[in-house]
Amino acid sequence: MKKANKHVTPSSSGGWLVRKSGSSRASRTFDTQAEAVSYGRALAKKDGTALYVHGRDGSIKNKMSYQDSTAGQASKKR
C-alpha cells in the first residue's frame, strides 16, 4: 500500500505540526519549524515518501522527496 506523504504546516494554535496526507490530525506538534522539519524528514525517509514544507499562506516552500530512498529497508537487510 502506498504510504502517505508528510506535511509541515503552521499550527492554528501556534508552533508547527507534522501531518500525513489525508489525515485531519497532526502526527506531532513542535515549537519551531526546524524541529518539525527534522521530525517530518525522518518520517518521510523511513516511509519512502515526500515531505512538503508549507509556509504560513499554505504555499510550498520546500519539497524533499525520499520516494526512491532505500533508507526504510535498511533494518530489513541486517
Binding site: 506523504n5 506535511h7 504546516t9 492554528s12 501531518r19 496526507s21 489525508g22 489525515s23 485531519s24 490530525r25 515526500a50 512538503y52 508549507h54 504560513r56 499562506d57 499554505g58 504555499s59 510550498i60 519539497k63
Partner: protein, 204 residues
C-alpha cells in the same frame, strides 16, 4: 451556474491578501459551492463595475472582507472598493425582487468590533473577525456556509488538511507541466479555482 450555489467573494487582490484568499476560496469549493470573483473574466472587455454588479446579481451568497480597507502609511488612501461593493450587495437585497430578497452576506474583519469605527451602519449583520489567520478564515467561512446553506460540512480541521493536500498535489502537477516555483505561487486566481474544483471532485 445556479444562483443558489454562487458565492460572490469581495476582497482585495494583492499578494498580501492571497494568503487568506486561497483558503477562503478552497473552503467554498470544498463545500460544493461556486466561488464568483471579479477576476474570473479578466479579458471579457466588460466594464469592471458592470461585471461586479452582474456577479452580485447572480450570487445568493456573498463574503465581503473589509480587513484591508485601512490606510497603513501616511499619505496612503484607504480602500473603498470593498465597502462600495458591500453596499451594492446590500442594496440588491433590499431593493431587488424575487430571489434577490433571499441573498445572504458574511462580512469579515481582521479585529473584533474594528468595523464600528469606520462603518457603524453594519451593526446587526453577520460580522466575524479572522485575526488574519488562514485557519480562522476556513473555520469562519465553513461555519457560516454550513449554517446559512444548511450543508453537510466536514470540520475545519479536515478542510484545512485537505487544503494542504491540494496545495502539495497542485504544486507537483504544475511543476510537471513546466511551471516554475514562482509560476506556481503566481497562478492566476481563475486558474487556481479550476485546479481546486478538479482536485475536490476527485478527492473529497
Amino acid at each position: 451556474m445556479a444562483f443558489e450555489d454562487n458565492v460572490f467573494i469581495n476582497c482585495p487582490f494583492d499578494d498580501e491578501y492571497f494568503s487568506l484568499l486561497r483558503p477562503l476560496i478552497f473552503t467554498v469549493v470544498y463545500l460544493g459551492m461556486k466561488p464568483r470573483i471579479a477576476l474570473e473574466a479578466l479579458d471579457a472587455g466588460e466594464a469592471r463595475l458592470d461585471k461586479i454588479v452582474g456577479l452580485i446579481r447572480e450570487s445568493k451568497y456573498s463574503i465581503h472582507d473589509l480587513s484591508r480597507i485601512e490606510a497603513r502609511t501616511i499619505g496612503e488612501l484607504f480602500r473603498l472598493n470593498m465597502p462600495f461593493e458591500l453596499g451594492i450587495d446590500f442594496g440588491c437585497r433590499k431593493f431587488g425582487r424575487g430571489d434577490l430578497k433571499n441573498k445572504r452576506s458574511l462580512v469579515l474583519e481582521a479585529e473584533r468590533h474594528r468595523y464600528k469605527a469606520a462603518l457603524s451602519d453594519l451593526s446587526g449583520m453577520d460580522i466575524e473577525h479572522h485575526d488574519n489567520s488562514p485557519y480562522k478564515v476556513i473555520e469562519i467561512v465553513r461555519n457560516w456556509l454550513k449554517t446559512t446553506c444548511k450543508l453537510q460540512a466536514a470540520g475545519p480541521a479536515r478542510i484545512s488538511g485537505a487544503f494542504t493536500d491540494f496545495t502539495a498535489a497542485n504544486f507537483d502537477d504544475l511543476r510537471g507541466k513546466g511551471f516554475s516555483r514562482e509560476d506556481v505561487d503566481n497562478l492566476p486566481i481563475p486558474e487556481l479555482i479550476e485546479c481546486m474544483e478538479s482536485w475536490v471532485s476527485e478527492n473529497r
